[in-house]
Subunit: 291 residues, 2 copies
């Protein structure tokens, strides 16, 4: 007799942000409710959903957007998780101390308890993504947190380009990697380039699912903010890298998929990559460069 399969309905919130923080938080909570209305028990918000993507410029005035944990946004998210009895992965600009800020993911369980906090480990700094000005690289390491829905690995945006982050998070027992994200292309980028970049962005995250035999949930923002066009395309992938659900490139929506959690076992037993890792030969991963 087989036990009942464990299926988790997951949702990625894809939304457009506005100038006013209160409006963004309110609208995000509304979308969390929509996800719960559709039966989702694990919901992921986009990165820094409380504000426009301020990292397009370096301006100390934006530090005023940061808030402590716990604080207004985490209390609001906790209340929504508790009210709907869902696991919720949120994202915010964390004020840790005067002059010390992080880009942080927070995990709430269905009780409303905050069961996890992760500070973005890899911080980008590129034209229109001046994040190194705002965010100190995380010092909590790579982590996974048990929730009522699944064991959730917390990663954020730029982390998505790093196989090391996905691997170490999976090795903490994560069944689902979550990537709150704010990614797009410059509005003046020549035609074809954003499409290639978006394809690469999907490919590498699908590969994290494959390499580690886990699910991946990616929640991105949408819409144009100053010079950036955020490309939406929030998606949910299974442990063979297969796309289970994907959002549009330009609309707000709740992207929902059922995750057959037994696939973590099934796929890893079929492709036992963890069995054969050459841990005796990986030491130089901690070097900057190998030559």
């Amino acid at each position: 007799m087989s036990p009942k399969p464990r299926v988790v309905r997951a949702a990625a919130i894809q939304m457009r942000m506005h100038e006013d923080v209160g409006t963004n938080v309110k609208r995000c909570v509304e979308m969390v409710h929509k996800a719960a209305d559709q039966g989702a028990t694990l919901v992921v918000t986009p990165e820094l959903f409380g504000s426009l993507y301020f990292c397009q410029r370096e301006d100390a005035a934006f530090f005023d957007l940061a808030e402590p944990i716990p604080g207004p946004t985490t209390r609001t998210l906790a209340a929504a998780a508790k009210e709907r009895g869902i696991a919720l992965v949120g994202s915010l600009f964390e004020r840790r101390a005067p002059g010390l800020f992080h880009n942080t993911s927070v995990v709430f369980d269905k009780t409303g308890e905050m069961v996890g906090k992760y500070r973005k480990m890899h911080i980008p700094d590129d034209p229109n993504y001046y994040e190194k000005f705002y965010f100190t690289p995380g010092d909590l390491g790579f982590q996974a947190f048990a929730t009522s829905a699944a064991k959730v690995g917390t990663l954020v945006c730029w982390d998505q380009w790093y196989p090391e982050g996905a691997r170490l998070t999976a090795m903490k027992g994560a069944e689902v990697l979550t990537y709150p994200t704010a990614i797009g292309a410059h509005a003046r980028e020549p035609a074809g380039i954003p499409e290639r970049q978006r394809d690469a962005w999907m490919t590498i995250q699908r590969a994290h699912a494959i390499a580690n035999g886990v699910f991946v949930v990616v929640a991105n923002r949408v819409g144009q903010e100053e010079e950036m066009r955020f490309w939406g395309s929030s998606f949910i992938a299974g442990p063979l890298g297969e796309i289970l659900a994907q959002g549009s490139q330009d609309k707000e929506e709740v992207v929902v998929a059922d995750l057959p959690m037994d696939d973590v076992d099934v796929v890893r037993e079929g492709w036992p990559f963890f069995r054969d890792r050459r841990i005796d030969a990986y030491g130089e991963i901690t070097r900057r460069w190998g030559e």
Copy 2:
């Protein structure tokens, strides 16, 4: 004034294997010549092209297929590389000592000199892939070798599922990762499954190109051997993970693409992933599991 762009024409040999070793080696060399006729200066053979994929069974008689390095096959490959003035990545069943065997890649430069040897680090063992019976895991580490065409990173088949192998090879300075391969699906696999596996196999290797800003050349065998249908699909990808050329699923062919080598610089400067690696936080990669 810009210097002349460096473009390397690369080729992956996709071929069907036969019972007789002499025939296989002869036919492979013919295909290397075809690649050179098309202007390729970097050519990659499929894995263990000298024989049928004997690892479908465990039988000590197959150890007779192994040969030392240098030996008949490496001498033949060296001669072909020298004759055509190309860099050539070959694959063979290496007899290192009585009872000690490896699955080995060898790199020849246009002079015919053997400039590199790599012993497959990750060894699979699954139904129809009983490689752990035949091959001792490699003890030469992850490597890249300077050739007249490009700096070539040597990896083999099952290695392709391991982001650590791709990363460490890229960190040795590889501009092109080469994967001689023998992969397919059981002939009785239900419809749809081989397609999903093949898609995952392409996705993860394209992701290695993206994560590391390198080119990837994958040479697979084709045709049915006993219970296995090898799925061909040999391909060449660029550092955004874009497919530059791809072979069929069922025909012998030389898969050729021009690699604009300056893209290694251009893509890495646009997406400077190596800059932001958290080498202070990757130490647990050398653990078997993180919990």
